[in-house]
């Protein structure tokens, strides 16, 4: 009969499909990546994602963690906080062990409570102080927050550079405001204040007002705290106006993503950075090489953060000795992790009670359109104790 003839092949196809479709593998740990793949943060999210994937690949090649392999997936937040919330919820449905992302602070603040309610440890690339101010014990940063970062920055500028009059240019969003507030705070602790304090807008093209004010103030150094393109434009216009002021920055000013569009104008800028591709640290050099081999581009600080984040998880799980989210969470507070026990961390680090890091950092200078490390700076605080986690 007709029906039988059509049903038979259908059934056969169905059975074949069921046989071929692999059953959900038992010994696999899910680590979804929730990042900015489209929208304003696309370049940042892409770096984070690529590095996390590289880290997972590296770890799986060596047999995984505690005998289990890792598995990632990528979800796009569109650099939109409400969307990142939806994505976070979606991802939590699959019961992952930990989550990697988001990078943009305004998204992380929106979605971190949800991860916390689900008890899934979250590793973020965000740096804004608002993240650690919320009392969330489930969030782990992969860099300094702006308080540690700016404390080091001010110390370097006043003690090493002997900066007399500092102009401050900052982007008026959560990232820039956090940095601004912390910078001004630490300057104040040393009895100083910026001679010029101007905010700029995201995607701003013309910086003549800022540069004119900087010139009028007689500043010796200008601290530039902006996103990459705006930094590039600022530097081009600074050189065009022939200003004699010394440009100084923090991570973004000396990043490759600023140097590429800014070209020769960025030469001479000096920065305090947490992570850089120009680092002389052998482990970082090695990771950078492997990243370039796989992805054909130089990793930036967001890539390093992602890579280190995965290995922070690995180090904690190994120290705890089991895949227990609560114990891993506890282990990642007030603890030191060294490259001796886990090379993937690239540098020794200390995770504080709020989930943010203290770590050595670097002073770089842009020479010939490359970021060159001129000095390594030690941890801000310490000495710290290493706690066992069993």
């Amino acid at each position: 009969m007709r029906t039988v003839r059509t049903v038979q092949p259908l059934l056969a196809a169905l059975v074949t499909l069921m046989a071929v479709t692999p059953a959900s593998p038992q010994g696999v740990i899910k680590l979804p990546i929730v990042a900015e793949i489209t929208g304003g943060g696309a370049s940042v999210g892409a770096m984070w994602r690529d590095a996390v994937n590289l880290a997972v690949e590296d770890i799986n090649k060596k047999g995984g963690i505690l005998g289990l392999k890792l598995e990632t997936s990528v979800q796009d937040t569109q650099t939109d906080p409400p969307t990142s919330v939806a994505v976070m919820r979606r991802v939590l449905n699959d019961k992952p062990f930990a989550i990697f992302g988001t990078v943009y602070s305004s998204s992380t603040v929106a979605n971190m409570d949800i991860a916390r309610q689900a008890g899934v440890p979250q590793f973020t690339g965000s740096e804004s102080i608002i993240i650690t101010q919320k009392g969330n014990d489930n969030i782990f940063l992969t860099s300094f927050t702006q308080d540690t970062g700016m404390a080091k920055q001010v110390r370097w500028m006043l003690d090493d550079l002997k900066a007399e009059k500092i102009a401050l240019i900052w982007v008026n969003n959560a990232f820039g405001k956090g940095g601004h507030d912390m910078f001004v705070h630490f300057l104040k602790e040393r009895g100083k204040a910026p001679v010029v304090d101007i905010s700029t807008e995201v995607q701003q093209a013309d910086f003549t007002p800022e540069l004119t004010k900087v010139r009028a103030s007689g500043a010796t150094h200008v601290m530039v705290y902006n996103h990459e393109e705006e930094n590039a434009r600022f530097m081009i216009q600074l050189r065009k106006m022939g200003l004699a002021v010394e440009p100084v920055g923090e991570t973004t000013l000396c990043a490759q993503t600023t140097i590429t569009p800014g070209g020769g104008a960025v030469n001479g800028a000096r920065c305090h950075v947490g992570l850089t591709a120009g680092s002389p640290v052998p482990l970082m050099v090695d990771m950078s090489r492997r990243f370039q081999e796989k992805y054909n581009r130089v990793p930036d600080h967001n890539a390093f953060k992602g890579y280190i984040g995965v290995h922070m998880l690995k180090a904690a799980v190994q120290r705890v000795g089991s895949w227990d989210q609560a114990k891993v969470r506890a282990c990642l507070h007030n603890n030191v992790f060294t490259t001796a026990e886990e090379a993937g961390l690239l540098m020794d680090l200390y995770v504080n009670e709020k989930g943010s890091l203290d770590r050595p950092s670097f002073i770089v200078e842009v020479k010939d359109q490359k970021s060159v490390v001129t000095k390594t700076v030690g941890m801000l605080g310490g000495p710290y104790n290493t706690r066992p986690c069993k």
């Binding site: 489209t38 807008e201 800022e210 434009r233 065009k240 106006m241 022939g242």
Partner: protein, 292 residues
């Protein structure tokens, strides 16, 4: 005082770029009632094309410029008109507005996804060496932008007022039905207007690229400023768009320096709203006819 001059020069230089984007916008509105929400992206796409021809293919500058203008005119002028506008124009203003919004998203995200989300450098066309006039520092780039824009706008003004095609455009702008009755091929004219707009935005792109750098999202702010400029200056006159562009550029720069950088984007807006409430046709505009 020196600072004031410095800022004004910068404001006029950036304003000239706004004006170029605004003029095409005005032309489109006049001849076809199109509010082109993708005008910013009409500048971004040729900017990327310029990178392709000048930086990647290493064509000589003039050839690259020509290629860019041609590509832009074909795709964003003729192409957009035939595929999008011809169908939607009969449906009223709003469907076309939404379609141009969709178009702007399409161009923006396609560039981001298929080319790069990062900013690309663009070699300066005019020299950037500082020229010191007392305490004021300018470079050839500012002056070059202003002169270039002036030439293009001047040529356009001559075209509109002295050629037959220009008169036909004016006729269509004033009263489409009447123009059609008088024998003007309105459809073809609209196509030509679109192509002219695309050529203008391509030229604007070449001026902007060194200043703004080439990135998929520079169109957002630019498109907005073009709207402000067109409305403030006068929505139905080329010289209105010119005035508007210069005004927006100068107000932005001066107010950021002298009043508050936190509200930088607001000052041009306040002027916009004031103009809209007091003289909606714009400072140099003329009242629009009922029939159009």
């Amino acid at each position: 005082m020196a600072d004031f001059v410095q800022l004004s020069v910068a404001g006029v230089s950036i304003g000239a770029i706004y004006a170029m984007a605004a003029i095409g916008f005005v032309l489109l509105w006049q001849t076809s009632n199109t509010i082109n929400f993708a005008q910013g992206e009409f500048v971004v796409l040729p900017a990327f094309a310029m990178v392709l021809f000048f930086v990647i293919f290493r064509l000589p500058f003039a050839a690259a410029m020509l290629a860019t203008v041609l590509v832009s005119t074909l795709l964003l002028g003729w192409g957009v008109k035939q595929l999008l506008v011809a169908r939607l124009i009969k449906m009223g203003v709003l469907p076309l507005v939404i379609a141009t919004i969709g178009l702007s998203l399409l161009i923006r995200y396609s560039l981001q996804q298929f080319w790069t989300p990062l900013a690309l450098p663009f070699p300066a066309i005019f020299s950037r060496d500082p020229i010191r006039l007392g305490t004021i520092v300018v470079s050839l780039e500012e002056i070059g932008n202003i002169l270039f824009a002036a030439v293009v706008i001047g040529a356009l003004q001559l075209f509109i007022t002295r050629t037959k095609l220009g008169w036909a455009m004016q006729a269509v702008a004033q009263n489409r039905m009447l123009a059609s009755v008088l024998g003007i091929n309105v459809g073809r004219l609209v196509t030509i207007t679109f192509m002219l707009n695309a050529a203008l935005t391509a030229v604007a792109a070449i001026l902007i690229a060194p200043v703004y750098l080439v990135k998929y999202d520079i169109g957002i702010g630019l498109g907005l400023k073009a709207f402000y400029a067109a409305i403030i200056g006068g929505f139905n006159q080329i010289r209105g768009a010119l005035l508007g562009g210069l005004l927006v550029g100068v107000v932005e720069t001066l107010s950021a320096a002298y009043i508050s950088s936190h509200f930088r984007d607001a000052f041009a807006l306040v002027i916009l709203i004031a103009v809209l409430l007091l003289k909606p046709e714009g400072i140099w505009g003329v009242k629009e006819e009922w029939a159009s």
